[in-house]
């Protein structure tokens, strides 16, 4: 195993020297005796589309859940925009502009596509029950504005024809698009995507990739993408961080990753030719 040797010569990260929006510092998370994330550190540069790859069980999804506030790390810190956000709840992170999607998409099944997006509208006055009782006009005006925004986003991601369909009836790929659309409702600064390409047909995936690039280039949204689909990683991500056994193994451009013999041999196997 070459892990130790590789750890002793850390790759200089371009992101650390650049302006970092997200910094993961020495994060550890164990489930029983299994250290899913083990002293993992890296930084994600502002405005980048960073890939996070590695074999199954490398701890990518666990780490994503920790960053998104769904899990609490045992030790270590997460800095978002220079501020410690370790242990904050997902909704608190969302308020700061950090959104996430799930590996298996989880829209609210009994709500329509439109309703799912409207639900995600931030700072809704009507979410306080006394406003719903006492200020219906104000709530109604805001609801209208949120519906307008949701319709705009639905048109953007090409789901407008499914406006009134229940989320439970969408295909897997459409659900992924809906989740992506949901993150846009809060006008995010950074989005964590957990395997956006898994189970998605090529056409939808191309669309999704275009949207990700557009959001990044036109609106400066940073993306951290956990993915097994190397085509998508190659197309979108620079830099790519490779995780193995709970920690960062390598970081560099996709070409560097696929030429690194240790990464190739130990972790990507035959996937990258």
């Amino acid at each position: 195993m070459t892990t130790v040797a590789i750890r002793e010569q850390p790759t200089p990260t371009a992101a650390l020297q650049r302006d970092a929006i997200l910094e993961v510092g020495a994060v550890t998370k164990a489930f029983g005796g299994n250290r899913a994330v083990d002293d993992c550190s890296f930084a994600v540069g502002r405005g980048t589309i960073t890939g996070l790859i590695g074999p199954n069980g490398a701890g990518k999804s666990t780490l994503l859940n920790i960053i998104a506030g769904a899990l609490r790390p045992d030790t270590g810190v997460i800095l978002f925009d220079g501020q410690a956000v370790t242990g904050l709840r997902p909704d608190e992170l969302l308020c700061r502009g950090l959104a996430r999607t799930f590996q298996i998409p989880r829209p609210i099944p009994t709500m329509t596509v439109l309703e799912n997006l409207v639900l995600a509208g931030p700072d809704q006055t009507g979410e306080r029950i006394w406003n719903a009782w006492c200020r219906p006009a104000q709530v109604g005006r805001q609801e209208d504005a949120i519906v307008d925004q949701a319709l705009e986003i639905l048109a953007y991601v090409n789901l407008i024809h499914l406006r009134d369909a229940f989320a439970a009836n969408l295909s897997g790929g459409q659900k992924k698009l809906l989740e992506f659309a949901r993150t846009l409702m809060i006008r995010p600064r950074m989005v964590l995507l957990d395997e956006p390409a898994a189970g998605v047909n090529r056409t939808l995936m191309r669309q999704l990739a275009e949207h990700i690039e557009e959001q990044c280039h036109d609106h400066g949204v940073t993306f951290l993408i956990v993915e097994h689909d190397m085509d998508l990683i190659a197309r979108l991500c620079d830099p790519v961080i490779v995780m193995s056994q709970g920690t960062r193994l390598f970081e560099g451009s996709f070409d560097e990753v696929r030429q690194d013999p240790a990464v190739l041999e130990a972790y990507l196997g035959g996937q990258v030719k």
Partner: protein, 376 residues
Amino acid sequence: MTRRGNLLAIVIVALITAFLVGLPLLRTGSISSVVSFLVPSLATMAIFAIVCIGLNVQWGYTGIFNFGVVGFFMVGAYTAAIVTKSPADGQFATYIGGLGDALAAVPLPGAGAWLPFLVAIIAAAALSAALALPLAWPIVRLREDYLAIALIGAAEVLRRIATEERWLVNGSRGLGGIPRPLAGWVNADAYNYVFLLIVVVLLLLVYVLVDRGIRSPWGRVLRAIREDEDATAAAGKDVVAFKLQGFVLGAAIMGAAGALFAFQQGAVSPETFTHFFGTFIFWAMLIAGGSGNMVGTIVGVYVIWGLWSTTLQLQGFDLPAFVEGRIPHLRDTLVGVIIVVVLLVNPRGLVPERARVSRWLDRRVAAMRRSEAAGD
């Protein structure tokens, strides 16, 4: 709603109505006796409908599995008793409070007839909510089934306290002689009608308030939490805070209904508040009627309580001995059968949940569809 489900709802409601009116009419042959049977029954139904609306907020919309309804209902009933009664004599009865006389002496027009009762209902709701909040704080984080067990335990603890602590609410003897609202203003014959009016007005008030709350962005978040807590958190909602709000609002409503129940019964004792009567029957009503639907909730109360009270009417008839002695058991069985039939034919209840919650969004979508139809 499916056509079959629709038909079932209509048939069952019609059957119950036929029983409610027909049985007393057959037995006595006089309309006035039918009315005098129906009016208190309807008042009881209205009170139970308020409880079920509270449970509907907790389970139907928020997905909180409250199997301790009886606890909040009982706290409301006892609170109403100690607020409206005169102080304890310390000899035959010992209890705290006894604010009735003091409140009646407040210099407001006719204060004695209404002020203690208004204060009692508000206090019952407030105390029930105040109890729900610390109780819910640790347990809303539990999974559904554990939460149900924790709440059964909490309700049982409350019942034990009411039974054992004589200084608090007179122990197992309970509290009798609870005064009735507006009783001084109307004569005794007409009182049942006045009481029915009071509870129906309060039911409407609770209905409108809850409906407004549910059909707003607030209710949308509750419903999302019911479906998937993690996804709702990822949509930026503070799941625990919303669950607490749903739970506490539901508990407050149950407490207020408990107060009305105390006024109607005139006496409360720990024996009344069994888990079967105080929890199971309300769940049966909610499930039969359709959780997540306000109208369904009321239909469920009507069907289950209608069945419950009409079966007792059967005892007035000359029935074969083996049936007559078993009527209470047959009644329990019938409630079970109704639940099974409803769940088989339409698992979402007699009047299932509406698809969209927010009334503003409802209007917008309707308008968009209209304009699309016009465009085509």
